[in-house]
């Protein structure tokens, strides 16, 4: 009994910093933001209870909000699948037993390490500038240069390219998944005369499906919360013509530029609900396409 107590004490001691941090920086802010979402709060004066007014205004009286929602959906639904596809292709290339493969893995992972950083977004501004690499490449194959920062649609695509380029972390997870597929399956398939694509669709994809599910969920959540690149590339404006006004950027503007903290909190909770719904949809569809080895193939 005595030793048991002592052991527990040590346990609490070690977990303490995390629990305190979790309470102070996660739980309390969550509760506070939930309360603020029903108030009009300008950061200076005490919050004033207005019920569902914020939520109502969002969907009925704020075209900019709906626009930012639309932009964000385009960003997520165009960016995430492309990013996963790209990650999977590279993971398969790196899964071959070529020599410098370790070096390549590191190189391809690098963009994700410096991923959301300010430096990358600034570099991106140069790459896509009027005389940047991208426009030079376009001109060399006879396509007119694009005003990446001046055209609202192009600016959004530039952000999507940036997110695709940072495929490293999902690529590493795919790579681990690929490694865990027993080589004997492929050998057996080869004996039966299966082509590369048959092997890919009948062995690789089903065996990899739990990993795909994990990546899809994580990347979707991450994409919804994208903030830094949009902030830096548009110099904080979300422009041109609100073309890069991603949800979290607009939320930030409402909270810290216009001092509508209540409205911003309400936006955060709507985003939570949207992400929760999307995540459950992905989970619900997963039983049709995710294959678990351990439960007899179900």
């Amino acid at each position: 009994m005595q030793t048991n107590m002592k052991q527990n004490l040590w346990g609490y001691l070690f977990i303490g910093p995390f629990v305190i941090g979790f309470l102070a920086f996660t739980i309390i802010p969550i509760v506070a933001s939930f309360y603020f979402s029903f108030t009009s709060y300008d950061l200076f004066n005490s919050p004033r209870w207005i019920g569902l007014q914020n939520f109502k205004e969002m969907f009925t009286a704020d075209p900019r909000y709906l626009h930012s929602l639309k932009i964000t959906f385009i960003y997520v639904f165009a960016g995430v699948p492309l990013r996963l596809l790209f990650a999977l292709i590279v993971a398969m290339l790196l899964n071959t037993a070529s020599r410098a493969v370790g070096l390549y893995r590191t190189l391809y992972y690098l963009p994700s390490l410096i991923g959301g950083s300010v430096a990358v977004a600034i570099m991106w501004r140069n790459i896509f500038g009027d005389e940047g690499v991208v426009n030079i490449a376009l001109m060399s194959i006879g396509i007119d240069p694009v005003r990446w920062f001046g055209d609202p649609t192009a600016a959004l695509w530039m952000l999507i390219f940036l997110s695709i380029w940072q495929f490293g972390s999902s690529m590493l997870i795919f790579l681990a998944g690929l490694k865990s597929i027993p080589q004997s399956y492929y050998e057996a398939a080869s004996v039966d005369g299966a082509s590369f694509f048959q092997k890919f669709f009948s062995i690789t994809i089903p065996m990899l499906s739990p990993v795909i599910l994990f990546n899809a969920v994580m990347q979707t959540i991450g994409a919804f919360m994208t903030f830094v690149p949009a902030f830096i590339i548009s110099k904080g404006t979300g422009g041109p013509l609100d073309g890069t006004l991603l949800y979290s950027l607009y939320l930030f503007k409402q909270g810290f530029e216009f001092f509508h903290m209540g409205y911003a909190s309400a936006m955060a909770w709507v985003m939570l609900v949207i992400i929760a719904i999307l995540t459950s949809i992905i989970f619900m569809t997963s039983r049709f396409w995710v294959h678990y080895e351990s439960e007899g193939g179900k």
Binding site: F25, T26, P29, I30, S33, D42, L43, F44, N45, R125, N126, G129, D130, R147, W148, F149, G150, D151, V217, I221, M225, F227, K235, G236, G239, P240, L241, D242, S248, L251, F252, G255, F256, E257, F258, F259, A264, S265, A268, W269, M271, L272, I275, A276, T279, S280, F283, Y292, E295, K298
Partner: protein, 444 residues
């Protein structure tokens, strides 16, 4: 088994998500907060002893690198003369500055001295974030060489909530070489908006841009003032003009300038990496409409030299006003307001300090400092002084400071101007939209 695991995973996911989305907005702020809390703690612990002993002041300003450099030097100079005072600087660019200041204000952790802009002064003053400086003026802050007019620039209601650091006036900075190529040996002394468009056309014909656009909130306000109105109502509760035709006229002209290519298209401007790429700086445009204290910076980054011209008329003097370029305010939560006021006095009245500042924060308000600097300043700075002196004679009172919510109105009108320039909306529709939305922002 599988099912319960899934449910558990799902729940964990949602919890985790809630954490993330909660962070979404506050992440930046909280990190800034932490930083400021640390410094604040230092300040408090030392400040508690107060008196003539050790004093620690926090001071915050926005600006670009040259301003940071000389401000740090001024601070060093002050610390050398007052060994008991330690000053902790916090500086940032314009955008970052306001995003950092808001959470600090919410936490009552504002630095002792904060640089303030006219468009935010009311907001911070009305929310009791700033201290009334009137009790210090005349005692800690020497006002013998400063006009009442200059001090009143920082008035909100009955109190002075920001001390004017210098004055600015709107002006046109043009390249005389290009003007003479267009056939103007001298800039027309009085020019109107019609002549503005005529000269613009000549510039286009000669292969130049005329300017790089009129910043919507600033120049629309100027245009309204020429017509005896203002952008904001005197009490800040709404717009200061009734006739939307004024909006339409002004932005039609702006639109025509873009269409005739006298002003670069917005997508061209968006593509510019920095001020160095500006067509006017590169000698591809005639001039820039901007505040007088931006003249020196323009000459610094450009190889051409520039001249001052007033803004287009008619009724230039009604349109023009002397704007306090920026203020220093003392925060209400500061525990050493007097020490802060002493520093302000040094910043405003000390000639040696102002030899470092050299009018970067606007033409000094103290006549003594102004006279002392006249022999010190560069040729470019002298032109600024000269223009502001001219503007002093040819302008009208500024009127009440911008109301709280001005920041949002400015973003609104800038957005509408962008849409007009892209051809997404007609000036007529923009006028109606601006009225509805601005009134609702200001009415709150």
């Amino acid at each position: 088994m599988k099912k319960s695991l899934l449910v558990l995973l799902g729940m964990m996911m949602i919890l985790w998500l809630a954490a993330c989305s909660g962070d979404g907005g506050s992440e930046e702020a909280s990190s800034d907060d932490n930083a400021s809390e640390e410094t604040a703690d230092n300040g408090d612990s030392e400040g508690a002893e107060s008196g003539d002993e050790e004093v620690t002041l926090r001071i915050a300003w926005w600006g670009s690198q040259p301003r940071h450099d000389y401000t740090l030097e001024v601070i060093k100079m002050y610390e050398e003369q007052h060994p008991n005072v330690t000053i902790e600087p916090e500086y940032a660019s314009w955008d970052d500055y306001w995003q950092k200041l808001a959470p600090q204000a919410a936490a009552n952790e504002l630095p002792d001295i904060v640089q303030m802009d006219l468009s935010y002064l009311s907001q911070y003053a009305e929310n009791n974030q700033l201290a009334d400086l009137s009790p210090f003026i005349g005692s800690n802050i020497d006002d013998t060489n400063i006009s009442q007019n200059a001090i009143d620039g920082g008035k909100v209601g009955d109190g002075v909530y920001g001390f004017n650091l210098g004055v600015n006036a709107l002006s046109f900075h043009y390249n005389p070489e290009i003007m003479s190529e267009l056939g103007y040996d001298e800039f027309p002394e009085e020019w109107t908006w019609e002549e503005y468009q005529e000269i613009s056309q000549k510039a286009v014909d000669a292969g130049y841009y005329f300017d790089n656009g009129l910043k919507a909130d600033v120049f629309f306000n100027y245009y309204l003032r020429q017509n005896g109105k203002r952008l904001y109502a005197e009490d800040g509760s709404g717009l200061g003009y009734e006739d939307d035709q004024l909006f339409v006229d002004f932005f039609k002209m702006v639109q025509e300038q873009v269409e005739s290519e006298a002003t670069p298209t917005p997508d061209f401007l968006a593509q510019l990496a920095g001020p160095e790429d500006d067509p006017v700086v590169k000698g591809e445009g005639v001039g820039i409409f901007q505040w007088s204290n931006q003249f020196v910076g323009l000459e610094d980054i450009s190889e051409s030299s520039f001249e001052f011209a007033p803004t287009p008329g008619p009724n230039v003097d009604q349109g023009l006003f002397l704007k306090p370029s920026m203020f220093f305010s003392v925060s209400e939560n500061s525990e050493q307001k007097e020490a802060a006021a002493d520093f302000l006095n040094f910043f405003i009245n000390d000639v040696e300090a102002n030899k470092l500042i050299l009018g970067d924060r606007g033409v000094p308000v103290s006549s003594e400092v102004k006279d002392a600097l006249l022999s010190e300043v560069s040729e470019a700075q002298a032109k600024v002084f000269e223009y502001v002196a001219w503007a002093e004679e040819n302008s009208t009172a500024m009127g009440a400071p911008d109301p709280a919510g001005a920041g949002e109105v400015i973003e609104l009108i800038d957005g509408l101007q962008e849409q007009i320039a892209y051809g997404e909306i007609s000036p007529e529709d923009a006028a109606t939209q601006f009225r509805t939305q601005a009134e609702s922002i200001l009415g709150n």
